[in-house]
């Protein structure tokens, strides 16, 4: 019996140790992010669930002003409550809520979707399906990627110039375009001032590059054999895109759109630039509930051109105030914003999973 080589080698132990170290390092990186994030969430959640403990001075002041029971009943027991969702911002932190911001964000979401989806998908379809490979396409492609990386505050300045002021084309007082729709009047002020439509268009510009790139990826993932097969059956290019390519790319496009929309929902800087950071105790178009839509449906036509505030703006507003109570209100606002964003991201994941099962090549 002869042994050609030993199965034990001391030098190997060192190599194994290095591998082990690397594994630990990677594991540590994973947990670093997770731990910091959950700590943050916990502290915000804790803040959102209780008012700050009043210091001695404040207790004295409260005793001196002798708040009566009736007024006390209007105060929230903690920052995040149902009242928080149904009342407007207030000078009294215990009375303040994010109703205006919620409706403002909803309007933004609606109009960003309306403007982003057709333009983004249209541009992606043009670039992927129609345009020829060449220098122009490459230039556009590179610029799209660059635009996706432009800081959001720059888009804010763009929005301010183009939508809020419209380059000052309409003079000092501006103009109002009136359209008689038969059942109601539609008044469009020019320039748009700091209205929902200005904010939505600005956010639209901000997310368009990402939407276009995501939609392009989705279109590129559709196998070309599907297109060829469609052409071979006598389909025109439009029919091929409409009946084969777009349906197949839809889940990818929708995922990209929803993720971009949730980014738009969380944007603060561009909206501050266009002047949305103000105290506001009304919802756009005075629509503050679903029943309000029935009571004065014309509010739907007014809302796009009304002033607004949004969730991140409201949070920013509260954070910048001095009283510690507003800090806790901001925390409550962050919780609401996070829930909204998480719902949108979940929707994106669900859509992706649902369609992925259906279309497999």
């Amino acid at each position: 019996m002869s042994v050609s080589g030993s199965l034990r080698e001391p030098a190997l132990a060192k190599r194994h140790r290095i591998g082990q170290l690397f594994e630990w390092a990677c594991c540590g990186s994973t947990w670093f992010g997770m731990v910091v994030l959950s700590l943050l969430l916990l502290s915000i959640g804790w803040k959102a669930m209780a008012w700050p403990i009043p210091d001695a001075d404040a207790v004295d002041r409260a005793a001196a002003t002798k708040t009566d029971a009736k007024a006390n009943a209007l105060l929230s027991p903690r920052p995040l409550s149902t009242r928080f969702l149904t009342s407007y911002d207030s000078r009294v932190p215990q009375k303040a809520g994010i109703k205006a911001a919620l409706w403002g964000s909803l309007w933004l979401l609606v109009f960003v979707t309306i403007t982003t989806v057709p333009v983004g998908v249209g541009a992606a379809v043009y670039l992927e399906e129609y345009s020829n490979e060449g220098r122009w396409k490459r230039i556009i492609q590179v610029n799209l990627s660059n635009l996706a990386g432009v800081p959001s505050i720059v888009y804010g300045i763009l929005g301010l110039t183009v939508f809020v002021r419209m380059f000052g084309l309409f003079g000092h007082d501006g103009k109002v375009l009136d359209f008689n729709l038969g059942f109601a009047m539609l008044s469009i002020p020019l320039p748009f001032e700091r209205s929902v439509i200005s904010g939505a268009l600005t956010l639209s510009l901000l997310v368009l590059p990402t939407v276009i790139v995501a939609a392009q990826e989705a279109l590129r993932a559709v196998p070309s054999s599907i297109r060829t097969a469609s052409y071979a059956l006598g389909a025109t290019q439009w029919q091929t895109i409409r009946h084969q390519v777009l349906p197949a790319a839809m889940p990818g496009i929708m995922t990209g759109v929803i993720l971009s929309l949730s980014r738009a929902m969380g944007e603060t800087a561009p909206l501050i630039m266009i002047g949305a950071l103000t105290y506001l105790a009304k919802c756009p178009g005075k629509i503050d509930s679903l029943s309000a839509v029935w009571q004065h449906p014309t509010g739907l036509l007014e809302a796009p051109f009304d002033v607004f505030t949004s969730l991140p703006i409201q949070i920013f507003n509260w954070v910048s105030r001095a009283q510690p109570e507003y800090d806790h209100l901001a925390a409550a606002g962050i919780m609401v914003l996070l829930v909204v964003l998480m719902m949108m991201n979940t929707a994106a994941i669900l859509i992706r999973n649902r369609f992925q099962r259906r279309t497999q090549w």
């Binding site: 020829n132 490979e133 196998p223 054999s225 599907i226 297109r227 060829t228 097969a229 469609s230 052409y231 071979a232 059956l233 006598g234 389909a235 025109t236 029919q239 009946h243 084969q244 349906p247 197949a248 259906r358 279309t359 497999q360 090549w361």
Partner: protein, 281 residues
């Protein structure tokens, strides 16, 4: 030579089968030409893929293109319904006529051409839709909206493609749930639904198992009663089994085209003989 003998045996089997079939058909002695190709040169960018190809494709027959990989047979097939138009940077000189009409004439609408010259690909490409929607796609995009008519077309096409009995109870199921052979027959049914005169097939059975291949071959044999079929195949036995005419391509040139029986038993050119006896390719 044993290979030649095996081919003649194949021919013999075929003739027996064909005489059974033809007893029902009126035999036409003169071949009516469906497609005429004159001096066709084809370029991918700078690279020339086809050199001066001329041939006629007779009506209601099966014409097979054989040749080693990259010999231009698929490219040539795709010039017959202008599928090469989709590829950027391609160019062509020469003339292709379908029943006397130049298909590359400026006034010809490619969409109309492709409706008359259907195509089936090597890899079955069912759309990720139901079986019904797959077959109904062609007529639908051509403007057929009547549901009753559509159902009729779908049923007839599936019957012609010998798939009806297997799928009639699950028309709304996804076409992707079918087996490979069924998917390919579905693609043939789909091509038939637009009611073409000519059916181009690019290696329709090369990705299938022998049983499915046999079904497709039987199907092609049936279909030639009503359609002009052009098929590209890697498989010389297949060409010998199903085609009436065979064209041998080599390095972008059409080397020889003749009655299948003649080409496989008494080829005129040396290259053809070398290829079919397996000396290269």
């Amino acid at each position: 030579m044993t290979i030649m003998q095996s081919f003649s045996e194949l021919m013999h089997q075929r003739q027996q089968r064909e005489t059974v079939k033809r007893s029902r058909l009126v035999e036409t002695e003169t071949e009516v030409s469906k497609l005429d190709v004159n001096n066709l040169n084809f370029f991918y960018g700078e690279k020339q893929a086809l050199f001066d190809v001329s041939m006629t494709v007779p009506e209601r027959s099966v014409t097979a293109f054989i040749g080693p990989s990259g010999c231009g047979k698929s490219t040539f097939l795709r010039t017959l319904n202008r599928m090469n138009d989709i590829i950027e940077g391609t160019r062509l000189t020469g003339k292709v006529t379908l029943e006397g009409q130049d298909i590359y004439a400026p006034e010809v609408d490619v969409v109309a051409l492709r409706k008359r010259v259907g195509m089936v690909f090597q890899k079955s490409t069912p759309f990720p839709k139901s079986i019904f929607d797959n077959v109904a796609y062609g007529p639908k995009i051509a403007g057929q909206r009547n549901q009753k008519e559509l159902q009729g077309i779908v049923e007839q096409s599936l019957k012609r493609a010998a798939l009806w009995d297997e799928v009639k109870d699950r028309m709304q199921d996804s076409a992707l749930a079918l087996s490979g052979g069924q998917q390919q027959r579905l693609c043939i049914a789909r091509a038939l639904a637009t009611n073409p005169d000519v059916l181009l097939m690019d290696e329709p059975a090369s990705a299938l198992d022998p049983a499915s291949t046999a079904r497709i071959e039987d199907l092609i044999f049936e279909l030639k009663q009503n359609y002009t079929i052009v098929i590209v195949t890697h498989n010389m036995q297949q060409a010998a089994r199903i085609s009436d005419w065979t064209a041998f391509f080599f390095q972008g040139y059409l080397i020889e085209k003749d009655r299948t029986q003649k080409l496989f038993t008494t080829p005129k050119k040396k290259q053809t003989e070398d290829y079919i006896t397996g000396r290269f390719g």
